[in-house]
């Protein structure tokens, strides 16, 4: 399930709904990404995120299919914010349930690498005196490349 929304969400409530629905899963891994209040030395006053409505969702659905083909997972939930966000607010929340923990960990890790380097979101950091459209860090690309060789 994929949900892209311009309103705030509550990761704890989402985890509760997800795990109670994962009746026979032994393992549930979640990742929560939050807006940080600092970027290096600079104070961050907020983020602005945009996406390509329709296309972004369709590509994430395809990525979820890849995950299901590659790992034995029971269920996947992806929530991603767009719009204006303040420091401390959730940006992204990924939940994966599976029979065993290794699969849940790997699938969640893979989905986050996808969302960071391939999913069609654009993020502007608004700082005290300027603003900047963020691009993936080198380590984000390296993380994403980990999955390539055994594909």
């Amino acid at each position: 399930m994929i949900r892209i929304s311009d309103t705030a969400f509550d990761p704890g409530a989402e985890l509760t709904a997800f795990e109670q629905n994962a009746a026979n899963a032994g393992a549930v891994v979640s990742f929560l990404g939050k807006v940080r209040g600092k970027a290096g030395q600079a104070d961050v006053s907020g983020l602005y995120l945009e996406h390509y409505a329709g296309v972004t969702e369709a590509m994430i659905v395809e990525c979820e299919r890849d995950v299901s083909a590659r790992w034995n997972v029971d269920d996947v939930l992806i929530i991603h914010r767009i719009g204006q966000l303040s420091p401390g607010e959730p940006i992204v929340f990924v939940c994966v349930s599976a029979a065993h923990r290794r699969e849940a960990f790997e699938a969640a890790d893979f989905l986050m690498d996808y969302l960071k380097t391939k999913a069609m979101f654009w993020k502007k950091e608004v700082r005290d005196n300027d603003e900047e459209w963020i691009e993936p860090r080198d380590e984000d690309y390296r993380d994403a490349a980990r999955w390539r060789e055994d594909e």
Partner: protein
């Protein structure tokens, strides 16, 4: 009329996320469209021609030589940054 979409920093440069533009008869590839835009707005044109920019035509990935025609939706994508 083609529908042009600019995301991220390209939207800021273009002064808007979307514009409608009729394509001249001899503009049949993305490269050629960028040349037309550059004639009007060199800064935007240069940004659109950067090697990191990708293109989507009618919701499918395309390359700079990809065919376009009036009525298409043509999106210009700078490097993404989700999560």
């Amino acid at each position: 009329m083609a529908r042009l979409l600019f995301f991220g920093k390209l939207g800021d440069l273009a002064g808007g996320r979307m514009r409608e533009q009729s394509l001249p008869k001899d503009v049949v590839t993305i490269d050629q469209l960028i040349a037309v835009i550059t004639a009007d707005d060199a800064a935007l044109g240069e940004a659109l021609a950067a090697p990191s920019v990708r293109f989507i035509v009618n919701e499918k990935m395309a390359d700079a030589g990809g065919a376009i025609s009036d009525g298409d939706e043509i999106a210009f994508l700078p490097p993404v940054s989700g999560g």
